[in-house]
């Protein structure tokens, strides 16, 4: 497997009047050909900014440190002109809000053909034909008529399909989808998820799915990376992350979701405390203030990603950034209590 995207020790910093905010704090990973990678995290975990920085789309006060390579070409610090040859063509992005993702004063047809004329040098007529094909692929009814419409004339689900169609126009090698279904209703979300699952087999693009919804990840992704406080907490295959979570944060997230497939419980497990303040991230483990297994080492020493089960093995597949040996048997943490819901309730106060 060859990597489409190689990210090494990437950091994102924002200069604000209140001081520097560290949104992403050194993450490294590969996205391989044909793979679907889920990036899971809550608001403020840095999951969106990580890929905004890869795409060179950070706000003016943001800067990127480290390296992100597309097929060996360094993207960090690349001049905008060169970057424009790659993004939209080789790497495409779908945004959460389909209304702001589309230009409001241009007809759908114009927006779609522009991409092809720009990147592929197609004639207007050929580009139109191709745009129609794409609209049919994402199952838009009366595709011909849509080309002459403006974004506001379409429903949210329809706009999201058009965003997906636009992203796929140039047959990108990497598709980054940032919360593609979050703003949609459940039944429309089901349509889009269904579509994306089909597209995964039709196109050969590697997909990065950025989301807070573990359910979406479970259905679409092959690999998952869990982020918290701008760092990866745990990475692995979907099977490993969902069935054998090794990090207390991942385990806590999974336990705190009510599920339709399980017996209803009287009480939900709740991770205590509040999300971290990015301006005052703890020196060591970012999850220490909310972790039920916290011990001295977590406060002094930043845990790095290590192989689950064997800390000395090389990094392949299932890794976690945690000092614990395992959740069932936290022997390296003599003072650590086991997960106790009642105690958490009191602490969250």
């Amino acid at each position: 497997m060859t990597a489409v995207l190689e990210v090494r020790d990437l950091k994102v910093r924002f200069a604000t009047p209140d001081g520097e905010v560290s949104a992403v704090n050194g993450v490294s990973f590969d996205v391989n050909e044909g793979e679907c990678v889920g990036i899971v995290g809550e608001s403020g975990s840095g999951k969106s900014q990580l890929f905004m920085s890869v795409m060179g789309l950070l706000a003016k006060n943001g800067r990127t440190l480290g390296s992100a390579k597309y097929r060996g070409t360094e993207l960090v610090g690349m001049p905008v002109k060169a970057l424009n040859k790659i993004r939209g063509d080789k790497i495409a992005m779908i945004f959460q809000d389909s209304m702001t993702g589309l230009t409001p004063h241009l007809r759908i047809g114009k927006q779609m053909t522009e991409v092809l004329v720009q990147h592929k040098g197609m004639s207007e007529a050929d580009a139109r034909k191709r745009a129609l094909e794409m609209l049919n692929l994402v199952r838009i009814p009366e595709a011909g008529r849509r080309l002459a419409q403006y974004p506001h004339e379409l429903s949210g689900g329809m706009r999201q399909r058009i965003m997906i169609a636009m992203a796929l126009l140039c047959e990108p090698e990497l598709l980054i989808a940032d919360e593609p279904t979050t703003a949609l209703d459940v039944t429309v979300q089901a349509q889009i998820l269904d579509l994306m699952a089909d597209l995964k087999t039709v196109t050969k693009a590697a997909i990065v799915l950025i989301t807070h919804d573990l359910g979406t990840v479970a259905g679409l992704c092959d690999k998952v990376q869990v982020m918290y406080g701008g760092r990866f907490m745990e990475t692995g295959t979907v099977q490993e992350i969902f069935y054998k979570p090794a990090h207390p944060y991942t385990a806590g997230l999974l336990a705190s979701m009510p599920r339709l497939t399980e017996e209803r419980q009287e009480k939900l497990y709740a991770i205590p405390g509040q999300p971290p303040n990015l301006q005052r991230l703890p020196k060591a483990c970012p999850f220490q203030e909310r972790c039920t297994y916290v011990h001295d080492r977590c406060i002094d020493e930043l845990p790095v990603l290590r192989q689950v089960g064997d800390a000395n093995a090389t990094l392949t597949g299932h890794t976690k950034a945690c000092h614990l040996v395992s959740l069932q048997n936290p022997v390296s943490a003599p003072h650590a209590p086991s997960i106790n819901v009642a105690a958490d309730e009191a602490r969250s106060a």
Binding site: V186, A190, A218, G219, S256, P258, A270, P275, R290
Partner: protein, 333 residues
């Protein structure tokens, strides 16, 4: 548990929408809520689910008379709320409160947390001494999981989850009988959602509250509700006990909704056959004739376009509005 607290009958909320006319406007009614009836018992939670535009928030506000219903009856604690004077309703408001979706937007940024939570006390007990009021606020803050010493802080100093706790404290300070929760956890992160859901359920147990829990998240609704009502374009599609709705839904819309929920379990999620509804929600300005769901319904036939299905009891306590009601043909989750 069995004592009735709230009865809503044939509730309609129609908004006049200007659709034309230059000097004399032409108006078409937008039927946000169109003939909804249900009851809510003491200590019970009724989950109200549906997609955006189905009228679930409007229904909540109409029950509280924050929006004046066009037609229908709301009977709360034995007395009618519809068609009575503003002062009568104002007095009743002490017993019925609401928690909003956006935790920060629903708090006045220029008031301290203490003033926000204590405001209902100043309104309903103007003679109460400031010290006593503060004492009550502090006690409640501790109960909802806020540090009482933060009483003089402002909303922007709190995170989303904490702001929602403030909103809940404001709703609870008068010891109401009914709290309407309008998407109380939708704006919160996954790890915070569980905290707030647990808090609401604890408060319900302690004070015997009745809750109307409005949400689009079917997993959360299943967790909190005793009974569930499913709305579509302002009409009730199905209403039943929680177990009946989730284990044996009889309406095709409910079945599609349940099947659409992504389950955080890769083996189940990757292999399941979703019921995917075609198309989008029709415009509530111009709803389909007959059954409002027929344009997206996999079971629709000619009769659905001609006759509006009546909400009828098909099993004990299980009411469905569908010509072709019946158990799903496939496994939903």
């Amino acid at each position: 548990m069995s004592k009735e607290l709230l009865r809503v009958e044939g509730l309609k909320v129609h908004f006049p929408i200007r659709t034309g006319g230059i000097l004399i406007g032409q108006y078409t009614p937008l039927k946000a809520v169109d003939g909804v009836s249900f009851t809510l018992n003491e200590g019970e939670t009724l989950g109200i689910v549906g997609e955006s535009g189905c009228g679930k928030s409007t229904l909540g506000r109409a029950v509280l008379q924050l929006i004046k219903p066009t037609d229908g009856q709301v009977v709360f604690m034995g007395s009618e709320l519809t068609g009575v004077g503003a002062e009568v309703i104002r007095q009743k408001r002490a017993d019925m409160q609401i928690v909003f979706q956006d935790p920060l937007a629903s708090l006045n940024p220029r008031m301290t947390v203490g003033d926000i939570i204590g405001e209902p006390l100043t309104v309903f007990f103007p003679k109460m001494k400031a010290e006593e009021r503060k004492e009550k606020v502090r006690a409640l803050m501790a109960k909802v999981g806020l540090l009482p010493q933060m009483i003089n802080r402002y909303p922007h100093e709190f995170s989303g989850g904490q702001c929602q706790r403030i909103g809940i404290a404001r709703a609870m300070i008068l010891n109401p009988k009914l709290v309407i929760c309008d998407e109380p956890v939708s704006a919160l992160d996954v790890s915070i959602q569980a905290q707030i859901v647990n808090l609401l359920m604890d408060l319900q147990q302690e004070f015997g509250l009745s809750l109307m829990f409005i949400s689009h998240d079917l997993s959360v609704v299943r967790h909190v509700s005793h009974r569930v009502m499913v709305l579509y374009l302002g009409k009730v599609m199905e209403i039943a006990t929680r177990d009946a709705i989730y284990a044996a839904p009889l309406h095709p819309y409910t079945q599609a909704l349940i099947s659409a929920v992504p389950v955080p379990d890769p083996d189940i999620e990757k292999n399941k056959q979703r019921i995917v509804l075609g198309g989008d929600l029709p415009s509530p300005m111009n709803p389909p004739s007959g059954c409002v769901f027929r344009t997206r319904c996999p079971r629709a036939t000619d009769i659905c376009a001609q006759e509006v299905p009546v909400l009828e009891e098909k099993a004990p306590g299980h009411r469905v509005a569908c010509h072709h009601w019946g158990l799903p043909e496939q496994k939903l989750v």
